[in-house]
């Protein structure tokens, strides 16, 4: 079991009052809570702080924690002799536990009488997938360390690896649930669940908005003005796209149902966002032709500014 210095994590003295500890936690919560924090490692730091506070705010847990003595943070340690008898934990189980599990379990065992059913813990994992993964569906491997309870009700960490199928058309921000795959329940309690938070990775070519996909399509001025037919790569292979004559910049050309699959059995659309690309250097002949066009055309795109 690795030691954590809960007082150090909260930035308080070992003899801090309950009020001091509460204030310290609240200030840190404001700074590191993942839902409001801008800090880089907010989630990990918040987990540590929450664990520290849960132990130190409870007088009995705090007393038990103080009895562990001061150790080096991050170092493996064992509770001093007599600790287990005093606080009711079987000595052999320490190696398979986390400090957090130790104190979480402490509350449970203080209750008198037969413990009721305990539901297993839930786990949340962020799953980054590519747009191709979403288009085709994919399988992912999760390596988790979940908490189980032995016959005595003592918690232990068990490494598990789970394969999960991500269905086609999973979009950014979607949550998928694997029921009953979380921590094991105890005393007839149900198992917890695993929640998968889908995060769509940035793609070199496509940008996703829900099930719709967007990509940039540069056209030459003459292609846009005269119209043309071009071959477009899509996630399911090349497709021909008709560019109507008189297409302007920023226009969106729709390729129906070529986006990401959706649960209705259809799919979102693929949109080509037109950009007009101007040749950086013109040959003499090209220049001459452009000047002729300029002289002949009456097209005024700034009429509204006159």
């Amino acid at each position: 079991m690795k030691f954590k210095d809960y007082y150090q994590i909260l930035g308080v003295d070992r003899n801090a009052s309950d009020e001091d500890i509460k204030k310290a936690y609240r200030k840190l919560a404001r700074k590191y809570h993942p839902d409001v924090s801008k800090e880089k490692d907010a989630e990990a730091r918040f987990k540590d702080m929450a664990e520290a506070y849960a132990t130190l705010k409870d007088p009995e847990k705090r007393a038990a924690y103080d009895q562990l003595g001061t150790q080096q943070p991050g170092e493996d340690f064992r509770p001093p002799p007599g600790w287990s008898t005093q606080f009711g934990e079987s000595a052999g189980a320490f190696d398979e536990m986390d400090l957090a599990d130790l104190f979480a379990g402490l509350a449970g065992r203080r209750r008198r009488g037969a413990p009721g059913p305990i539901r297993g813990g839930d786990y949340e994992v962020t799953v980054p997938i590519s747009i191709e993964d979403s288009f085709n569906g994919t399988e992912i491997r999760l390596d988790l360390s979940t908490t189980e309870f032995d016959e005595n009700g003592a918690p232990r960490r068990v490494p598990r690896n789970i394969t999960a199928r991500i269905p086609k058309g999973a979009i950014d921000g979607q949550v998928l649930r694997l029921t009953g795959q979380g921590g094991k329940g105890a005393n007839g309690g149900s198992n917890g669940d695993i929640y998968l938070n889908i995060a769509l990775l940035p793609h070199a070519r496509y940008r996703a908005d829900g099930h719709d996909l967007y990509f940039d399509l540069p056209l030459t001025p003459w292609e846009a003005a005269l119209g043309t037919e071009i071959e477009i790569p899509t996630l399911a292979g090349a497709v021909k796209l008709k560019v109507p004559p008189g297409t302007s910049a920023n226009q969106q050309l729709r390729l129906s149902r070529r986006g990401l699959p959706n649960p209705q059995g259809s799919a979102g659309n693929l949109y080509a966002i037109v950009q007009i690309a101007i040749p950086p250097k013109l040959t003499d002949r090209e220049q001459a032709l452009m000047k002729e066009l300029a002289a002949v055309s009456t097209f005024n795109p700034r009429r509204h500014l006159d």
Binding site: H33, D35, R165, P167, V175, D193
Partner: protein
């Protein structure tokens, strides 16, 4: 063995999670769910029906409510307020995402 997520996990699925399942998945008590419905943070499919059912998305909201209550030590009225703001932020992020998708690089 490959685990397949619940069919219910799709946002578009109709609401069919009974109250008890929502309580079990979120760890909230019945009273707490009722309170959150009162504050508008959770919305049952048919509020007037005898038996309530909730969408899968309600699980996410209910779990967030429990987490926020524990982590910020707030009572549910404060939590409901926080959830409303987080919803607004979510909507804004979705708008931004849509705009960015439509903006050429």
């Amino acid at each position: 063995m490959t685990n397949v997520p619940d069919e219910a996990s799709s946002y578009e699925q109709p609401a069919r999670l009974p109250l008890h399942d929502l309580m079990e998945a979120s760890g909230l008590s019945k009273y707490e769910v009722l309170e959150l419905v009162e504050y508008g943070a959770l919305v049952p499919a048919e509020p007037m029906a005898g038996q309530w059912s909730f969408s899968f998305r309600s699980i996410t909201v209910a779990r967030a409510a429990r987490r926020l209550r524990e982590e910020f030590e707030l009572e549910l009225h404060g939590v409901a307020l926080l959830l409303a703001y987080m919803d607004r932020i979510s909507d804004l992020e979705a708008e931004l995402c849509a705009l960015r998708a439509r903006t050429p690089r």
